[in-house]
Symmetry: D2
Subunit: 338 residues, 4 copies
C-alpha cells in the first residue's frame, strides 16, 4: 500500500501520517522524492480499513494493493487444482464440456438431452430448476420437481448434474441431488449464499459477476473456500459494458490472469457471453485457445421453442458440429476433451 502526499504537504503532515499508520498496527516506509513524499506501508493491511488514510491532511491519494485472497491464490497454493466430478476431471490438460438447456422444462426434453449429450461424450449436464429471471412475470423454473427430473436423467444415463442455487434453501435441497452447484452472476456477491456454499458437500461453479473485477471474483471464491469447501470452479460469462453487439462482453482476456493468480480451474460460457447461437461456436473455440479448462454451453432439443434463452442455445446438430471442431483443436493445444 502506498500513501501519496501532496506536493505542498508539510513535514508535520508527513509525520502525522506516519504516526497514524503505526497506530493502525502497520509499518510506514517514508520515501521523499523530488516533487512529493510517498509512504510505503507493509503489514497486515487487510485487517484495517485503510481507506481512512485518504482523509489525513496533506494526503493526495491512497494506492492499495488489493490481493486480499489467500486460499484462492496461487501464491499460497502453487499447484493447479483439479476437481473430479464423477469420472470427469476439470483441470489442466483436460477440456471439459458442460452442456444442457437453460431450464428443465419437462421430463421428455431433459431425458432426451441427457441421452444425446452422453452420446457426444459430454459427461456433465447443466439445467436450471431454480431460475433467476429479470421479470417476476417470466417462467421461474420448475423448482424441486425440476431437480427430480434431473435425478431421473442421471439415473437413466449416468450423466452428472450441474444446477443453479439462488438461496440457502435451494442449497439444502440441491446438494442432496446435484453433482455441481452453480452460483449465478447476479449472486456472485450474495455473501450469505457464498457462506452456505462453503459448507456444501458439492463442488461450486462460481460465475463471474456482471461487473466484477478479478479481485472481487477471487474474493467471492475465497468466501466459499474460507468455509471449508475448496472445490470451486470459476466461469467467465461476459460482463456488462457499453458494447451492444453481443448480450454481454465475453472477457476472455481474464483467463490468462486468473490462471496466473489462482490455482482454481476456469471455464468459459459463450452462450451467455454472446447471447446469440451463431456466435457461440467461434467464441467457444476462442475460449479454448485462450486457455480455459472447459466450456459451459446451452443446448436444447428445439431452441426455437425453448421457454428461456432459446436464442443462445445450440440444437443437437450444431452441437455435433462444434464438438467436431473442438476435437480438431484439442490436438495442437495438447488437450484431452472430456
Amino acid at each position: 500500500m502506498l500513501v501519496v502526499m501532496r506536493h505542498e504537504a508539510t513535514k508535520q503532515q508527513v509525520e502525522d501520517a506516519v504516526k497514524r499508520i503505526k497506530e493502525m498496527g502497520l509499518s510506514p516506509h517514508p520515501m521523499p522524492g523530488p516533487t512529493r513524499t510517498a509512504i510505503g506501508i507493509t503489514g497486515n493491511t487487510g485487517a484495517v480499513d485503510s481507506r481512512q488514510l485518504e482523509l489525513l491532511p496533506g494526503v493526495l491519494e491512497l494506492i492499495r494493493v488489493t490481493k486480499a485472497y489467500k486460499l484462492a491464490s496461487r501464491e499460497m497454493h502453487p499447484d493447479d487444482t483439479s476437481i473430479e466430478i464423477g469420472e470427469t476431471t476439470i483441470g489442466p490438460g483436460n477440456f471439459t464440456l458442460i452442456c444442457g438447456p437453460c431450464s428443465v422444462e419437462n421430463e421428455d426434453m431433459i431425458l432426451r438431452t441427457a441421452d444425446v449429450l452422453m452420446q457426444h461424450g459430454v459427461r456433465i449436464m447443466r439445467a436450471g430448476a431454480f431460475k433467476p429471471r429479470s421479470s417476476p412475470y417470466s417462467f421461474q423454473g420448475m423448482g424441486e420437481e425440476g431437480l427430480r427430473l434431473l435425478e431421473k436423467a442421471r439415473d437413466a444415463t449416468g450423466i452428472k448434474i450441474a444446477t443453479e442455487v439462488m438461496d440457502n434453501d435451494n442449497v439444502d435441497v440441491a446438494e442432496e441431488i446435484a453433482d455441481v452447484l452453480q452460483v449465478g452472476t447476479r449472486n456472485m456477491q450474495n455473501f450469505s449464499l457464498l457462506r452456505r456454499c462453503g459448507r456444501a458437500r458439492k463442488p461450486i461453479l462460481l460465475k463471474r459477476g456482471m461487473s466484477a473485477t478479478l479481485d472481487e471474483w477471487l474474493m467471492a471464491a475465497e468466501y466459499i473456500m474460507a468455509g471449508g469447501n475448496y472445490r470451486v470452479i470459476l466461469c467467465e460469462r461476459g460482463v456488462r459494458t457499453f458494447a451492444d453487439h453481443t448480450r454481454n462482453t465475453l472477457d476472455l482476456s481474464i483467463v490468462p490472469p486468473v490462471k496466473q493468480l489462482s490455482h482454481l480451474p476456469i471455464l468459459v460460457d459463450p452462450s451467455h457471453g454472446t447471447g446469440r447461437r451463431d456466435y457461440v461456436p467461434p467464441m467457444a473455440l476462442a475460449g479454448m485457445a485462450a486457455g480455459a479448462h472447459g466450456l459451459l454451453m446451452e443446448v436444447h432439443p428445439t431452441p426455437e421453442r425453448a421457454l428461456s434463452d432459446g436464442a443462445q442455445s445450440l440444437n443437437f446438430g450444431q452441437l455435433t458440429e462444434l464438438i467436431g471442431q473442438i476435437q480438431r483443436l484439442a490436438e495442437p493445444l495438447d488437450l484431452s476433451v472430456n
Copy 2:
C-alpha cells in the same frame, strides 16, 4: 417490438416470420420499406421468449421495447407515491435525510449518533448490523446484537431505523425491529430476497445494482411489489464504469427518467457514490437539484476510527455545515427538508 429483416431476405422468409409471430400468440404488422422489411409486433410480448425470433432465417435484428414493469410504472399508477416512516414522509415536496454510520459498532457510538441526528432534524438513521463485505476477513457486522442496539437508540431518541438485509433470515429478524429494510446494490437481483421483501411488513429501500439498467432496477422493484409490498423507495448509489476518480460513478442523470417512468420516490447516496468525504457535500447538493426526494449519507462520530467506510463518512461538524447548505437550497427548489 420490431423484427428487422435483412436487405436480402426473401418474400418467403418474411412470410415465415409473420407465421411464427402468430404462432406465438402475437400480432405481426409487416412494413415493407425501400431497403428492407420490418415487422411490428403487438400483443402481450412479455409472456413469450421473443428472443427466439432472432434466429429465424432472414432476420437481421430484433428490437424490443422492454418496459415490462407494471406496478412500478407511472403508466399504471400516474400519481406519485409517498411513503410514511413515522412522522416523516418520503415523496414529492419533501427532501428526506437518512443518515448514520456504515455499521453499528457499539452502543455508545450508535446512541450518540442518533442523538446528534435528531438534534439536526434527521428523523431516520441508517446503520448496518448485517454487512456485505468483499472480503470474508473484513468486519462482518454485529448481527442481531447490532439490531438490538438500534432498537435501543430508537427507544432513547425516537429516531426511526433503516438497516440492510442480506438474506431471508435477516428479513425475519429485521422486520420485527427496523422501520425500513434496505436491499443493497449486490443483492438488487437476488430474486429470492426480493420475493421475501415483497411479503415484509416494512418499506423497502432498494439500491440500484452496480451495473443495473433503469429497466432492471424497476423490474427489481416490480418483484417486491408483485408480492404485495408497494412501499418501495429507490436509491441511486453510483454505478461501475471505467472512471477511477471516484469509488463509483454517481449517475444523477437517472433521477429525471425514474421520476418520469415511475411513481416511486428516489433517493441519492453521495457517500457510496463518491467514496470520499470531501466530495459528499457537492454531490449531495447536486442530487437535490437533480430532483431526488432525499439523501442517504454516512455520518460517523469519528470517521477516522470507523470500522468500515470511514473515508466516505461525514463527521458531525461536516453534517451541520451540509444541512445548512441543504436548508438554503430548499427554498428556491420549493422543498421541505425532513
Copy 3:
C-alpha cells in the same frame, strides 16, 4: 510508483529489480513485508517507460501514480484560473452560460438566437460551423460560411462566439473569427490538434473524451498548455457506460476532483450529457450545485426542425424558465450568473 513482488520472489529477484530501477535513473526503496516485498520508487518517473518493470522475474504488479500533468495541476499553480471572454469571466464566483444551436443553419436563425440570448443575459453563443457527425451522410455543417454568419451575429449583437474546430485548418480560420475554440469529445486525444491549439490565440474549451479518465483529460489540457496557451476551459459532457436511459452518462462527480486537482475552470454540458430536452433543466441545476463554473447548453428557435441535435435543444421559452431557476439557485450558492 510501487513495484509489488510476488510472495515467492527470491532475494536475487528483488535485488535485480532494485538494480534495474537504478539503471533507469530512479531511486528504489525496498520494503520487506510479512508476505511479500514491495519496492517504492521515487525520481522523475515520467521520463521513462516504467511499464517495463512489470516484465521482471518475480514482479507481481506495478502500481503507478499517474499524475504526470504539471501546468494543469493545482500543485504547481495553487490559485484558480479565471478566463476572460469579452466582458465575461469564467472562473470562481461566476456561473457562465454558453448557449446556442448545435449547428449554424442559416443567417436568420443564428441572428435571432444571438438576439434572444443577449436579452437573457447570455454573453457567449456556441454554434457549430464544422460538425463532427458519426455518419458521412449527415449534415456536416456550413463550414467557413457558417463562421461568417457567426461573425455577423457578433457584429449585430455583441455576443461572443464559441465554435468547434476539428483539424489544424479549422483552427487557422476559426482563430481569426471566434472568441473561444472548442475541441470536441472525439478529438480530446487528437494530439496534433491539441498542439495546434497550444499555439492558438484564443481560449480553448476542451470537452472530456467519451471514455477519458480524469488523468487523461488533464493531460490533454497539458498538451495545450505546454504549447503556451494557458487559457483552457474544461467541459464535462457525459461519458460512455452501459447505461441506456440517457444518451451519455453525465459524470457530475468529476467536478469536485477536477477542482481539487486543477486550477482550470470546468463547465457542464447537460444537453449532450442527457440527449433529451426534458432532462436538461434538472441536470443543469445539478451541475450548478455540484460546483461547475457554468453550463454549455443547446438552444434552438425551433428544436423540432433543427438539422441536428434537436431532441436535446431547449426552445426559447424553456430557456427563459431555466434561467429563472438558475438565478434563484445562484443566491444560496453565492454565484453571480453571467
Copy 4:
C-alpha cells in the same frame, strides 16, 4: 424505426405523430396494441434527424435501427473483401501477421527487426514514426526521419510497412512511403483524418475506438470508403471498461458480428488489447480461433529497453514460439498463415 407512444397517449397525439412523420418525408405505420400504440416508420430515415420525434407529446420512446453504413455493409456487398499488400493477401482463408516495434527508435533496431520478421515469414512490419502519447512529455516518435528508416528497412529486406498517421500532414508524407496507413484508436472519429484517408492511395488499417460501438466503427470505415478508398482493414484492439486486469478489454466477440455485417477483413491486436507480454500468446491464439483474419502484434529486439510499450512487446524468442503455435492451429482452422 419505431415510435412507441405512452399508454395514456390520446388519439389526437397519435394522429399528430403520424402527421409529423409524413412531413419528414417518411411513411408511418400505426400499430395499435393492447396497452399502447407503436408507429413503425419506413423510408430513408438516415436523411432526417429523427431524434426530434422523441419530443412529440405522447411519445414514450423512439427506437432506431441504426445500420446507416452502406459501403461497409455486407448487405450491399455480399462477398468478402480481400486486400493485397505486396504478395500478402489479407482476407478469408489467410491469417496474416503484422508485427514490429511500437516506435522506430533507431536504424539498427528497425533493420534487425525487419530481418528477423522476414525470417519468420512475417511480410508486413508495423512501427510508429508519429506517436500518439497521452503525455506531451513522453517520446513522440522520430517523425519523418522514422519513415525514412522504415523505407530503408523495406529496401533492405523487402518487408512491407504499416505505420500510423495522426493528421492530414502525416498522410501526405506517409502515403509516399508506407504500404499501409494506420488510424489509431484515439482518431477513429477524427472525421477530418478519415476523409483524408478516403483520398489516400494506400490501404487503411482502422483501429476500433476505445469506446466505439460496432455501428460507429463501421461508420468510420464508411467515411473512408465514401471518399473512394475501399481498402479498409479493421482491427480490434481492446475497449475501455471497468475491468482492471488487462490494460484494455480485448473484445474478441466483435469478430463474428463484424464478419456477419461487413465484408471487410478484421485483425486483432492482442498487444494493446492486454498490455502484457505474457498474455499476448493466449489471446493471439484466441483471436485466431474467433475467426480474425490476422494479428497486429508488438515485437521488439529488447522489450525491456523499449522507448514505449515494452511491457506488451514480445522478444524474438517469444515470437518464434508463438508463430509455431499459430502454425499448429492453422491446420484444424483451415487457415494459411502469411
